[in-house]
Symmetry: C3
Subunit: 310 residues, 3 copies
């Protein structure tokens, strides 16, 4: 039986069964193939996506918008809260109920954790969570999976190193929720202060996932098939000297890449500041801009699936 996501909200990486993940990836790959022949499809012609960005995010917003336009649909929305009715004291629920009258599907980003769930409770069209503060970012995790599958050919049996601030990073938290469905070995590369929360590690181990924690990026690179770099953010540190001591521990440059296990694939959710040196950009396994493109395909898949157009 074909998996259907029609009418579903996409709120969290945790909501996905393995079959649902594979359905999204399959549809994303199909769209990628179809777009080799023509600039856009007609699948969503006449349909409207609402992009409600209460917090600015050019990359994610433009990814959703190009996804909808490549599907033949249209977009309305806003790119920051100051131009929205929220500024006049309207509740999030009323804003959502209003926009639901205009559009067929909503992609939203909001600074508050849980806001997408709140929106989904009242919405009459599917909600795609494009990030709710320190909460979830499930479309990022799906595009990460699509990229790993494209780059490596398969998802099973990989050693994946996750590098940087694993304590606060919502992208890595969402990604491991999807990776756990595959026979993955995870290397958590972080300073001890920024290691993966123990409840997440514990739940992954219960799921049968092998985990190693380390602060040695170079060592991890000698084992990893995929390395997922993230930023260490200054604002997470109460003590600036601590930040200064750690901030350069995880810079991936070409020298490090050249000593890594052959065939390494390098991912990053972007934007990067200095975690990946630009001399890595022309390395064949530097997949972070292909990852951006896969973001468009993954979101095309989600839009088409939740609206029931595929």
């Amino acid at each position: 039986m074909t998996i259907s996501l029609k009418g579903k909200h996409i709120l969290s990486g945790k909501q996905f069964s393995k079959a649902e993940i594979e359905r999204v990836l399959e549809v994303g790959e199909q769209f990628r193939e179809e777009l080799k022949e023509k600039p856009s499809l007609d699948l969503m012609k006449g349909y409207i996506l609402g992009t409600l960005f209460f917090e600015p995010s050019t990359r994610t917003r433009l990814s959703f918008e190009s996804a909808m336009e490549r599907l033949g649909g249209s977009v309305i929305g806003f790119s920051e809260a100051s131009t929205s009715s929220t500024a006049k004291g309207e509740t999030l629920q009323d804003t959502i109920l209003t926009v639901c009258q205009y559009v067929d599907v909503i992609a939203m980003r909001h600074p508050q954790i849980g806001s997408a769930d709140l929106a989904a409770e009242v919405a009459t069209v599917p909600i795609l969570n494009g990030g709710d503060g320190a909460g979830q970012h499930p479309t990022q995790a799906l595009l990460d999976m699509l990229t790993i599958k494209s780059e490596k050919g398969a998802l099973d049996g990989l050693t994946v190193a996750l590098v940087g601030d694993l304590k606060h990073g919502r992208t890595v938290h969402a990604l491991v929720e999807l990776l756990k469905h595959y026979r993955t070995r995870l290397l958590f590369v972080a300073p001890s202060l920024l290691q993966m929360p123990s409840e997440i590690s514990a739940s992954l181990r219960e799921y049968g996932i092998t985990i190693e924690e380390t602060a040695d990026l170079s060592g991890a690179l000698r084992q990893a098939d995929v390395v997922y770099m993230t930023r260490i953010q200054r604002e997470r540190f109460a003590d600036p000297t601590q930040y200064d001591a750690l901030k350069n521990a995880f810079i991936l440059d070409r020298a490090l890449v050249d000593q890594a296990k052959p065939g390494l694939t390098i991912l990053h959710p972007l934007p990067r500041v200095n975690e990946i040196a630009t001399d890595v950009d022309d390395f064949g396994g530097a997949a972070y801009f292909r990852q951006v493109k896969n973001g468009m395909y993954a979101r095309m898949a989600l839009i088409a699936l939740v609206t029931g157009r595929i």
Copy 2:
């Protein structure tokens, strides 16, 4: 003979004859029917709407934009004055003359009263006034009429209660200009300081409309077929204690609704702050989100009519 609005600017509720109101409602209803069969029409394919919002308004802007996209057309524009040429010292007239070179019809909102008239004097394409400060908001009034007609089946013979700040509210001022064409009984429910301006009441009475002024919401609800709630805004009061004394006088909650005349229809131009309690939202006659949707249909009708596409 069919009423034509081709080439006309939509500036004020006062400009409409009864026949013109009915033509707009008829076309709006027709589009609503057609959109039951498909997501969008092709009527405005290739045409462009310019949305010039010198003052932010998510609800109104997205309503115009979704209206144009549901008609198959495209949109360009801006959502706040800071990104417009006005910031460089350009006159409103020059901005309008410029945008007229790009688009087929313009929807604008501007903080200054009379700005839409000023724009219409120079424009070479039709102007739809989406609110000019404390001035007019004719598209809101038309969508209110469309909603009343949809909810009640007809416009004649209704008792309509208008509640809140009737002194400053441009939506109620525009609405009564349209309601006066029908055999309506109006209940003006406001604190005496915020009652309908006497020149408006006088002109309505001359037109043959029955008016009652009261500060008793509960009493009005026992007679009204339709209640139109609006916000009482703090900034209208020089004396904050006066505001505090009045602000909760007109809160419509489920208890009040349950004692109202059976079949009550509840409207609100939105956004609401607390004038309608959320326990009213699942009352069958709570029509304010359907009203939002009718806003899209009414604006579709206006766009199609002034461009002569219907």
Copy 3:
């Protein structure tokens, strides 16, 4: 052989051969003719333009956006830097590489000189420079040429007066780079402090162009076939009294126009503040709003040419 601009970046007026200028004008004129029959074309259906405005410019942004929509394509983008990833510390190059994954062609404006060249170095889709600070603005120069050709019937043998701040004005700098390919006589009308940089004048003279420098607008108008007005900007003057002495020296009003050579064509890149009095607007040769419309046609031509769709 037909001139091809497929895959080229449009960065500077200097890059154009005479044959390329004529190809752009020819395609612009062709689109202008086609749009007399229908509101839009289907040429770019399914293609996406990215409008990256790191600095606000309503006129230029809406011109590019309407150009793409009149070609049947779609648009995504941002209208000011605050909503872009730049605010998170991303380099311009990474932003460009990201957006290249989503779109087929990019129009950008950026406050820093040389930014468009920087973008073009990494971009995988064509870049259209919509202004890089005090640098270049080639699409403006092309639309100016298209307007002169439309208004005068030909480009050769004209006397063109350029008026205002010729020292800092990027539009006049770009325009003379295109005009030099034609047998043009140039009148540089400016206060001596704001005359054309001598290296530009010298290079034009080497190219065989006749130049006269003057501060006498009235005298220039008795000889000119075309007058190109620009603003004198207060911020260019260290000494405000100097600005006050000069600011009204070059105001074109109807009295001056009535004493000019018959058949005068008046251009202005807009926005204007007071350099052209509004009593000039209904003069037959006042072409500055037609110039705005030609901006749309010129940009349609550039989009279609660099993407290889024509």
